[in-house]
């Protein structure tokens, strides 16, 4: 009979673990060696294998990877240049020369779709990152320090949520004009609220736990406590929120550009391609169908990945 105890970090200290699970941090096996408990796997590898089990999430991952690669290598694989004009083929139907037709200036639709994807993806990812950053900062300060700053920040969050973002954004871009960077910035500034609330809630409860008190009592400074003990617990929420924000930012950019107040039309994005296609969608419908379909598929893929990640990182799931 052998006693096997596998050592892990002390129970309850999520310094290198994911949120929530409060089970014992050790396994005890008092039976024969062939039933010895397997070595502990890191929560990331557990999540990874759970992610791989969802077919939808994998499917989404494949699609979005293909799309990203296609847009990154647009310079190589696109049949025409981004702004290359074919004067003999203005608003042409799909043909052998132009698989998806041409737009009102004679530019090849397929090539513009590929190049436009770059900006669409860049804007979406950029906005999501900015929103994640703001959300982490606000949520951390609010949840950790509490008190009046917490009340102030949460009232601010309520205020931001009460504003119809699209009206605000449109007015701002009408006032000051828009560019790729300003679109990224402002989209990010309007979508951090959910993450901030989640992080604040988590921090408020985690702050009272024993391991935080223990860390404090041996003199660990606040910043280190936040970084090493509290933030890893909300990693799951951060990852999921960022992913879903990418999808949301993509749709928002499309809406803004469609109304003419997003990215200026010289730089193609899937959104403003829909805008320029509008007058011609009766005669050359592919110009309106293609960018929208690509957008939908991209957002779909990202949503699948985001949902898959959320289910995989949920500490209450099976492993």
């Amino acid at each position: 009979m052998s006693l096997e105890v596998s050592a892990k970090s002390t129970p309850g200290d999520p310094g290198n673990r994911l949120a929530g699970s409060a089970g014992p941090g050790f396994t005890v096996n008092t039976v024969a060696p062939d039933l010895i408990a397997k070595p502990a796997r890191s929560p990331w590898s557990i999540a990874y294998s759970r992610f791989r089990r969802s077919k939808l999430a994998l499917f989404g991952m494949v699609i979005i990877t293909l799309m990203t690669l296609a847009t990154l290598f647009a310079g190589v694989i696109a049949p025409y240049g981004e702004n290359e004009i074919d004067l003999f083929n203005i608003t042409a139907q799909p043909s052998e020369a132009h698989v998806l037709g041409t737009d009102e200036l004679g530019r090849d639709e397929l090539s513009r779709l590929l190049f436009g994807g770059r900006i669409s993806l860049f804007v979406a990812v950029g906005a999501a990152l900015i929103s994640t950053l703001i959300g982490i900062v606000v949520g951390t300060v609010s949840g950790f320090y509490g008190g009046w700053i917490d009340t102030l920040l949460m009232r601010f969050v309520d205020l931001m949520l009460a504003f119809p973002a699209i009206f605000l954004l449109l007015i701002m871009f009408a006032m000051y004009g828009s560019s790729v960077l300003s679109v990224v910035l402002f989209l990010g500034v309007f979508s951090w609220m959910w993450l901030a609330r989640v992080i604040r809630g988590e921090f408020k409860s985690l702050k009272e736990r024993d391991f935080v008190e223990a860390a404090r009592s041996i003199g660990v400074p606040n910043g280190i406590i936040i970084r090493r003990h509290l933030l890893p617990n909300v990693m799951a929420a951060i990852i999921v929120s960022t992913t879903l924000n990418i999808a949301y930012a993509m749709l928002s950019e499309a809406a803004l550009s469609f109304l003419g107040f997003g990215v200026p039309p010289e730089t193609p994005t899937w959104g403003n391609m829909l805008n320029t296609a509008r007058p011609y969608y009766v005669t050359v419908p592919i110009l309106a169908i293609a960018p929208g379909l690509t957008l939908t598929i991209a957002v779909l893929a990202i949503s699948f990945v985001g949902d898959g990640m959320r289910d995989a990182l949920d500490p209450r799931g099976r492993s």
Partner: protein, 316 residues
């Protein structure tokens, strides 16, 4: 219950105030100031400009302007439109009912469809119907709203000619039937996102209810399945839906702008878009404030209805 209502209403007032203040700050931020349109007009003399500035109250100190703005808002005075030279409140009031019609139709379609799809999907989980509706709702959530509207327009109005493609009434029409025909596509467009989201919510909420003990008791009591569903399960699964509906109000405003632009529906959204193109700031601010107020009221109503349906949350 009354205390709950009073508390929620009281919490909303500072929010409304905050919105009024923020929109005032915004207006000041417009390049060239609120009087930019007039200042840029080269044919105005200095005295005319000064007179206009005085009439807009721009020569008074900022805090006085802010106070005036706020009191004006609560009295319903939102300024004067730059492009139509009429009070903003009149301009908005003309088109507001049209948007309400659109939103109400969309809401109705969404609620009914979401309930039907959600509950039917929950009755046979992972069956064919469930899988198909799940996939369709993913699709519906991923689609840009305006693109869906364009596609509907393309298919049903342009190619098939079954339904009119734009506007609220035909030039010679005016009957209810005419309105309904024009309403169909826009309402469907504005509803699709909500149908997709809410049906999934209803489905998971119903599934959760069906696994509860009281369902088993009701069944063992001998109640018909139908009675169990309509009498007990339905009511309990509706409750979380109320909050989701209330939270989705901002989405409807966004959808209204996009849908009304696609279908040239003469509502608040299209007014906003038109005002944008001519930089008619008073109208824009007026719609912003109104939109924010609608969101706050929407959330308030959702909370109150939730309190009615589930009295437990009022005991705080």
């Amino acid at each position: 219950m009354l205390r709950y209502v009073a508390r929620r209403v009281l919490e909303s007032i500072p929010l409304l105030l905050g919105i009024a203040v923020l929109s005032f700050i915004f207006m000041q931020l417009a390049p060239g100031g609120p009087d930019a349109l007039f200042a840029r007009n080269g044919r105005m003399s200095a005295e005319q400009l000064a007179a206009i500035r005085r009439s807009m109250g721009l020569d008074r100190p900022p805090h006085e302007q802010l106070l005036a703005w706020i009191t004006n808002i609560f009295q319903g005075d939102l300024g004067v439109s730059y492009s139509q030279f009429r009070p903003v409140s009149h301009v908005i009031a003309e088109v507001f009912p049209n948007t309400v019609i659109l939103m109400a139709a969309g809401l109705l379609i969404s609620l009914v469809s979401a309930l039907v799809f959600g509950i039917l999907a929950a009755r046979r989980p992972y069956g064919i119907f469930d899988n198909v509706t799940s996939f369709l709702s993913y699709f519906g959530l991923a689609m840009p709203v305006f693109w869906f509207g364009l596609m509907l327009q393309l298919l049903f109005a342009v190619r098939l000619g079954w339904l009119p493609s734009a506007g609220m009434y035909s030039p010679d029409g005016g009957s209810t039937q005419d309105l309904l025909r024009h309403l169909t596509l826009p309402a469907l467009t504005i509803a699709i996102g909500s149908i997709a989201g809410w049906s999934r919510y209803v489905r998971s909420s119903t599934l959760e209810q069906l696994s509860q003990d009281y369902v088993r008791s009701a069944r063992s009591k001998g109640l018909t399945e139908r009675r169990v569903m309509t009498g007990h399960v339905l009511r309990n699964s509706l409750i979380p839906l109320v909050t989701v509906v209330g939270i989705d109000v901002p989405l409807y405003l966004t959808g209204a702008v996009l849908t009304e632009t696609v279908f040239s529906w003469p509502g608040m959204g299209r007014l906003f878009y038109d005002a944008l193109t001519v930089r008619d700031y008073p109208v824009l601010m007026g719609i912003l404030v109104l939109g924010a107020a609608l969101i706050i009221i929407g959330n308030l109503i959702a909370d109150l209805v939730y309190g009615l349906l589930d009295p437990r949350i009022t005991y705080e």
